[in-house]
């Protein structure tokens, strides 16, 4: 389990990093997914761009009701943030379920989003929260809605020359509650399925993971719930597109638990 040979660069700033990115490069942040892929030789980039030295990407702050999380923020930092726990508790609930403590100590928020594992927790939570993903390349800077960012397993709307720099999360409506429920074979293992929910009067954000190749926003369930439907009814709508019978039952149950938790 030794990686195939690659070149290695460790830029100190985003401006230095951007020209290095392209089809044959891989971005190394916490390394919790990339390093195993390299060691198994499933990933064979010519160049590894180590962004761990880019201090400007490591921050969590809120301005004007918007949470901004730098891509290099460690998952453990998000997990322990008082600010996040108070105003964006769905993120605290979701990040706690990412792997084990050791993994969260190294793993980054941007890495989890950019890697786009269909079983990942943060992408589903970000979709439910209506987050936006900020990307930069030498050509441009752009932001894309989380619900449009994930295109397939390990496949996103990020272009090869783009660096994921920030996750932007709007504040949930006044009085909103949140819930996150997931099912995994063992504690800390990849989730089989899960659901994230943010619910307030006349508002609902619901997303499922494990219901398909990407985390999905459950729009029909959101509309029903915002219109006063019961949690069970909304949960059934959320999972209605899942093919496998047992997985559909699982997604329905997890959506119901997440919604009920959000409703308190």
């Amino acid at each position: 389990m030794k990686p195939a040979a690659f070149d290695y660069r460790a830029p100190a700033s985003v401006d230095e990093a951007l020209p290095l990115l392209g089809l044959d490069s891989a971005v190394l942040a916490g390394g919790q997914s990339l390093v195993p892929l390299l060691n198994l030789r499933l990933a064979r980039p010519e160049l590894v761009v180590d962004v761990n030295g880019i201090a400007e990407l490591d921050y969590i702050h809120a301005d004007d009701g918007v949470l901004r999380i730098g891509a290099l923020t460690r998952q453990v930092t998000l997990e322990r943030s008082e600010l996040v726990a108070t105003r964006w508790p769905l993120l605290t609930k979701a990040v706690r379920l990412v792997g084990h403590a050791q993994i969260r100590t190294r793993g980054t928020v941007g890495g989890s989003v950019a890697h786009a594992d269909p079983a990942a927790e943060l992408p589903a939570a970000l979709i439910a929260l209506g987050a936006r993903i900020h990307l930069r390349s030498p050509r441009r800077a752009r932001a894309i809605s989380a619900s449009e960012f994930f295109l397939g397993p390990l496949h996103t709307a990020r272009e090869p020359d783009e660096l994921l720099v920030e996750v932007e999360v709007p504040e949930p409506p006044e009085g909103a509650g949140s819930g996150f429920a997931e099912h995994a074979r063992t504690h800390g293992d990849f989730a089989t399925a899960g659901a994230a929910a943010v619910v307030a009067a006349g508002h609902a954000g619901i997303a499922l993971l494990g219901a398909g190749p990407v985390p999905v926003r459950a729009e029909a369930a959101e509309r029903a719930l915002a219109g006063g439907a019961e949690p069970g009814e909304a949960a059934t709508l959320a999972a209605q597109g899942v093919d496998d019978e047992h997985r559909r039952a699982l997604c329905t149950e997890l959506a119901r638990r997440a919604i009920e938790e959000a409703l308190g």
Partner: protein, 703 residues
């Protein structure tokens, strides 16, 4: 017993281990060693054509394939069993003409570093012509082992039976997953014609014998050193083809050669456990007395017989009467060739299979007859010892009824059924072969008055250093600190059998006390009634030494396990709420370590129930090459385990000891399976009890 044996002392080796002062195989870094990476088959079954090696690869010392081993290394030997047929075709060190499982070693690349060796391995081109892969034992046309025994009038028992219960079950293949993967280092001294092999193994003896046989060298010309070993669970007992290659390569190239496998290799190429299915019929009279058992067992043995592949399914067959007084039995086992990695002994090694097949059948019988499953068991337990079973083994001692009574008391049976969940209780009993053959030890009085004990039985996590020191110190009436233990170096320790089959205390411990007893007599002869310290005795008569070789028939540990489980109706999720583990391992030397073995074994048994399964896809590719595809339990999934010991001393050794290393792994799956069936109202599902399986079973159960 003296002041130390029988006490729950903490492991004295742990401080060294926890402080990282151990030396595992990969910690040994001989200067100038060539490192090995294997080219392994990507196909489950294929003919091999040309093997194309580039002229020169950077950093690569040599590339070895079967052609280069011609005349240098024979196939691995095969161990048979009594009264059956076992193919003599062993596992080749490197594939010759054909590969029979994905992961089989085809060529070895020696390079200046492991990374260079892996780079080199990618450049070796093997011409494979894929063949159809056989993945089911019952679909295989090649039988590698066969054993059949009929005892008593089985036909008549079934004809006269008031009731016959028929059951069909299977257990999946399991990966052993020791914390430390396998590895070996070899160096060859041509002038002395001495081959030295360091190997992560359960003992030096079987490695030494295997090397001598495969390399056709006298045993005196081989020195095997087993360093600290980070677990094995059976998987480091039989010598590995890779170890043979390392040794042959060291002789051929004159270089020191090192192979320390990675986790992926360990998953795909280490021999696995279980992979057995059975059809069982139990004949009972109107009172629920068991009259006869009939069983047909098929074992999925994989592509080749590794040295000990034949053993576990034979053990399963021999234990098919379990703890019950059944006077007629017709049991047949067939070990079939499939295109998977070979199987071999894995914690339990045939015993969990027997307990699972029989105990599930007993519960089904109880359900069909409307008799309480505990009452049905009580009516049929063996109660007098020694007891010779219909299949030919003699149980030495036991109190099966007491074990069952305690298990019931400790587990607190519970049944419940509502809209959200179902709760059920189940029990599983077992009797297991342990010990047997021989073990050796010697004891020496050192000049400073301490005693050095060299044991043929060596540890890979069991706590020998503590247990054996307790025994030796007790016999000599000295402090444990004054007893030093040494293991694992074939030049130093006496020739023994090794650490497997829950035999260390019963066999190795008995050899230790016998050697120490002789040493004590020799010391007494020197002191001749005078008050002398051991140091004074050592001064008066330097080099007092004694040795012992202890032999015994098999001893039979037993136990009763109980489990209470809950199944979530909405998701099918199984939670084991609590487990009771009652084991009779004869007289216990260290109750703390014994309980540790029970809990560890139970965790492995629960892993098998909840998540573990080494699955192959339809082409025979392993889907378990990493921890993404093969899950292990964490502490979070462990329920409370209530343990208790019943101590029926074995009459077969001076300690009265039996084995405790495997009981948890043997009793747990049967108890959990019966609890699951109880919760499901009699619907039978085989492990692992995944959410999807149980969710579907619940729907079936509620009609």
């Amino acid at each position: 017993m003296g002041a130390l044996a029988g006490r729950p002392l903490r492991r004295r080796e742990d401080e060294r281990i926890l402080r990282g002062r151990t030396r595992y195989l990969d910690d040994i870094d001989p200067p100038g060693a060539a490192h090995v990476a294997f080219v392994r088959s990507p196909f489950a079954h294929a003919r091999i054509g040309a093997i194309d090696v580039p002229e020169e690869i950077e950093g690569v010392v040599a590339v070895i394939s079967a052609a280069e081993l011609e005349g240098r290394a024979a196939d691995l030997p095969v161990q048979g069993f009594e009264g059956g047929e076992v193919s003599t075709e062993g596992h080749p060190v490197l594939a010759r003409g054909e590969v029979r499982y994905a992961g089989q070693p085809v060529a070895a690349v020696l390079a200046e570093s492991r990374a260079a060796a892996e780079d080199g391995a990618e450049l070796v081109e093997v011409d494979y012509d894929p063949l159809e892969a056989v993945l089911e034992a019952r679909g295989s046309e090649v039988t590698m082992t066969r054993w059949h025994r009929v005892s008593g009038d089985v036909e008549r028992a079934f004809e006269s039976a008031a009731h016959v219960t028929r059951a069909r079950h299977s257990l999946p293949r399991l990966a052993p997953v020791p914390m430390e993967p396998r590895g070996a280092i070899a160096s060859y001294d041509e002038a002395e014609d001495m081959l030295t092999v360091w190997v992560s193994a359960q003992d030096s003896h079987r490695q030494l014998a295997g090397l001598a046989k495969v390399l056709d060298r006298p045993e005196e010309s081989i020195h095997v050193i087993v360093p600290d070993v980070g677990g094995a669970f059976g998987s480091k007992g039989a010598p590995a083809p890779e170890t043979m290659l390392v040794a042959a390569a060291a002789i051929a190239t004159g270089r020191t050669v090192k192979w320390a496998e990675d986790r992926e290799e360990n998953f795909v190429a280490s021999y696995q456990g279980r992979g057995v299915e059975a059809e069982v019929e139990l004949a009972l009279d109107a009172n629920g007395t068991m009259l006869a058992v009939r069983a047909r067992i098929w074992a999925d043995l994989g592509g080749y017989l590794m040295p000990t592949t034949a053993i576990p399914s034979h053990t399963t067959a021999m234990l098919m009467c379990g703890v019950y007084d059944i006077r007629a039995a017709d049991v047949q086992v067939e070990g079939r060739r499939t295109n998977k990695v070979p199987t071999g002994p894995y914690r339990g090694a045939g015993r969990p299979e027997a307990a699972y097949f029989l105990e599930c059948t007993v519960d089904a019988a109880a359900r069909e007859l409307g008799i309480d499953p505990l009452e049905l068991r009580r009516r049929n337990l063996v109660r007098e010892f020694p007891y010779e079973t219909a299949l030919g083994w003699t149980y030495d001692s036991g109190d099966y009824a007491r074990c069952l009574e305690l298990a019931e008391e400790l587990v607190k049976p519970e049944r419940h059924d509502d809209d959200a969940r179902v709760v059920g209780t189940g029990f599983g009993m077992y009797v297991e072969r342990a010990g047997g053959m021989f073990e050796s030890a010697d004891a020496e009085l050192l000049p400073d008055g301490r005693v050095l004990v060299r044991s043929g039985s060596s540890p890979h996590g069991q706590g020998h250093d503590t247990t054996f020191a307790q025994l030796a110190a007790d016999r000599l009436g000295i402090a444990m600190e004054d007893v030093e233990l040494r293991f694992g170096d074939s030049k130093e320790v006496p020739r023994g059998a090794g650490t497997f089959a829950s035999r260390s205390v019963a066999m190795g411990g008995s050899a230790v006390v016998q050697a120490v007893d002789v040493l004590k007599e020799k010391i007494a002869a020197v002191s001749a009634g005078r008050a002398m310290s051991l140091r004074e005795v050592a001064e008066a008569e330097p080099g007092i030494r004694a040795s012992a070789r202890f032999e015994s028939d098999l001893v039979f540990s037993s136990g009763a396990y109980g489990a209470v489980v809950e199944i979530d109706r909405a998701t099918g999720r199984l939670r084991v709420l609590r487990l009771a583990a009652v084991d009779d391992a004869g007289t216990i030397v260290n109750p703390l370590l014994a309980e540790g073995q029970v809990i560890g074994g139970s965790a492995q048994g629960l892993g098998q129930c909840l998540v573990e399964e080494a699955l192959y896809d339809e082409e025979g590719n392993p889907t378990f090459a990493s921890f993404v595809g093969y899950s292990l339990l964490t502490a979070a999934e462990m329920p409370p385990v209530e343990t208790a010991f019943v101590e029926s001393p074995s009459p077969l050794n001076p300690l009265g000891a039996k084995g405790i290393g495997e009981g948890g792994a043997i009793g747990t799956p049967a108890a959990v399976a019966n609890a699951v069936a109880d919760a499901l109202g009699g619907v039978w599902v085989d492990p692992p009890f995944t959410d999807a399986k149980l969710w579907r079973a619940l729907r079936e159960a509620s009609g």
